[in-house]
């Protein structure tokens, strides 16, 4: 299960972070000191759970929940109970943790989140990419850009981003190679290196350790080479 922590107080973020560390199968992907930054992040990445402080200057936790179209599961964290009734009006809010949070109460909350996730059909919230038919939509600055699979040359991982190279333009998307791979048809695309997925039909030639696509030389890792060779229509 993946989560992010939003709290304007560093001490509070550290506490939730520590509790997450002690919880098996729960990974903290990012921490935010304000909700606006977190919204930008969630527009580009799928997350299972948000630990959310209600009381934040400017943009409250409730504002945050109201803003997101498909919010992940939310566990509120706060120092008072005044918002409890309002909080449960939102479907995404699973639990409400009173600070200072104890490990026992935290564990119960995680169980509630797991139960909640298990009892709902799999959600596909907005992510950086979405595949439909023979095309793929990429999310750039809240604009969905349509790419035809046939126009994609290759995709390169660049840290927290991926560069999508097409016959017309190049796009940088906040997403992972793993996620985009799930959206691409396996008959057209192949991962040939931990940082590269190529459109198999765009290969011009292949050398020992690289392929040429247009003018770009792309490395082939030793472990991915057998699969590439298997897919070639060798004479």
């Amino acid at each position: 299960m993946t989560c992010i922590i939003i709290d304007d107080e560093a001490a509070a973020r550290a506490i939730v972070g520590q509790l997450c560390t002690k919880t098996p199968d729960l990974d903290v992907i990012e921490e935010f000191s304000n909700a606006i930054e977190a919204i930008k992040f969630l527009n580009q990445q799928n997350i299972d759970l948000v630990f959310l402080d209600i009381h934040m200057p400017g943009f409250s936790g409730i504002d945050f929940v109201q803003t997101l179209k498909n919010p992940p599961k939310v566990v509120l964290t706060t120092s008072d109970t005044n918002f409890a009734i309002e909080a449960y009006e939102y479907e995404a809010i699973v639990d409400y943790l009173l600070k200072p949070i104890t490990p026992e109460r935290f564990a119960k909350s995680i169980q509630k989140v797991k139960n909640s996730l298990a009892s709902q059909p799999a959600l596909k919230p907005d992510s950086g990419t979405s595949g439909i038919g023979d095309e793929l939509y990429i999310n750039i600055d809240r604009r969905l850009i349509k790419l035809k699979f046939d126009d994609i040359l290759y995709i390169e991982a660049k840290g927290d981003y991926i560069d999508v190279k097409t016959t017309k333009e190049d796009y940088r998307v906040h997403n992972t190679l793993k996620k985009i791979k799930e959206k691409l048809p396996a008959e057209l695309f192949l991962q040939i290196h931990r940082s590269y997925i190529i459109n198999f039909t765009k290969i011009i030639d292949i050398e020992d350790n690289s392929v040429l696509i247009e003018k770009n030389v792309i490395p082939i890792s030793r472990s991915n080479r057998p699969e590439l060779m298997r897919r070639l229509n060798l004479l």
């Binding site: 001490a11 520590q18 490990p103």
Partner: protein
């Protein structure tokens, strides 16, 4: 006057000394900034902003085991939201206690 303690932090750390040290550093860094923010807001009579900072500070009172102090902070926050600050003296004493304690750990 009750004294701050690290019971909660130690419970949370569960023997993880690295976390304990990291957390104490966060407290030492963050508390003076919040305290300064508190006095700035109070002195300029921005009571709503002052209440917001008291709200944040009261979590630290809880973390440091100051139960009575926490009760005072809850009342003070409500008072500030009503545009009054008669508990400011009592709250300042609590802040000074924390200040002094953080210098010893």
């Amino acid at each position: 006057m009750e004294h701050p303690n690290l019971t909660y932090i130690k419970q949370l750390a569960g023997g993880d000394k690295t976390f304990e040290d990291k957390f104490i550093t966060i407290l030492k860094d963050e508390f003076p900034l919040e305290k300064e923010e508190y006095y700035n807001a109070l002195h300029s009579e921005r009571f709503k902003d002052t209440a917001m900072i008291v709200h944040k500070l009261k979590h630290k009172l809880n973390i440091l085991g100051l139960e009575k102090g926490y009760g005072t902070a809850v009342q003070y926050e409500e008072e500030l939201l009503a545009g009054k600050s008669s508990l400011s003296g009592a709250f300042e004493e609590i802040l000074q206690t924390i200040d002094a304690y953080l210098k010893t750990i």
